[in-house]
Symmetry: C2
Subunit: 161 residues, 2 copies
């Protein structure tokens, strides 16, 4: 049992999880890029939030979650103001760099520990991290519909390089 928490069988290893997420982040970046600048914070379907607001939500969750898991520092922003696409992309790349730097600092056993993220979400670290990626995929899927409704072809879903 003593090795159970650090060396349980892996469906997804830490390295594979990061690679998988980085692939999603590249695809989400291309989805942000595909929006015309003047539609990113204005266009939506069915009264939902515009894609720029969804991208900002992703930014408030992604790097802050990894930082919290590593350090216990759960500070984040609730920034929802319209910004130029170039600024969103700059922040996206900055967050990607930070995630890349923080991820190897997650101790192997941490993934199976229970934490309370942002003072309110208590779950296995494994599930907390999955939730951030799931939320990104979920909202990006909505962005695909917005793009189609604008007559723009979204980037291929299976392309992650």
């Amino acid at each position: 049992m003593s090795t159970g928490s650090t060396l349980s069988a892996a469906a997804v290893t830490p390295d594979a999880f990061l690679k998988h997420w980085l692939g999603h982040r590249r695809l989400t970046r291309r989805t942000i890029e595909a929006f015309p600048d003047d539609q990113l914070f204005s266009f939506s379907v069915g009264g939902m939030r515009p894609f720029g607001v969804l991208a900002l939500e992703m930014l408030t969750m992604a790097e802050p979650m990894v930082r919290g898991v590593v350090s216990g520092d759960w500070a984040t922003s609730s920034d929802r103001e319209a910004q130029p696409k170039t600024e969103i992309l700059r922040r996206w790349d900055e967050a990607t760099d930070q995630i890349n730097a923080l991820w190897p600092q997650i101790p192997a056993e941490r993934f199976q520990e229970t934490l309370t993220a942002f003072g309110q979400y208590k779950d296995l670290v494994s599930n907390l991290l999955l939730y951030v990626v799931d939320n990104e995929i979920h909202h990006r899927g909505q962005g695909y519909v917005y793009l189609r409704a604008l007559g723009i072809e979204p980037p291929p879903f299976y392309e992650r390089n």
Copy 2:
């Protein structure tokens, strides 16, 4: 190194992966249920596929992927015909039962092996399984937009029980 393939550190254990996916499957089931029967195979936004067709795509990927990983049998259907919602839900539940029965048969080391799924998708089993769940989340997110455009509130994203 001899234990590396079976006992590598886990970001997500096999049990946690299944639980996570089953939570998503419950949410997707509620999303299917939320569609009016007469819109499931007719309504869409931006010329995209209706949600019933997307649900059928999920059915052709989910249980067949797990069965393939367990047995090497990659048979699946390419069924895209309109069907009553009750029939889609019945097939959804049947697939969930099959996934539950098959999952514990995946040998622990299999997740880190490379397979060619359905004769064409070559990747780590870990990634192949993640892709199926990602595809479900992606298309369900699109279904959320369809529901909103129909004036219907989608089920809460964070609720997975």
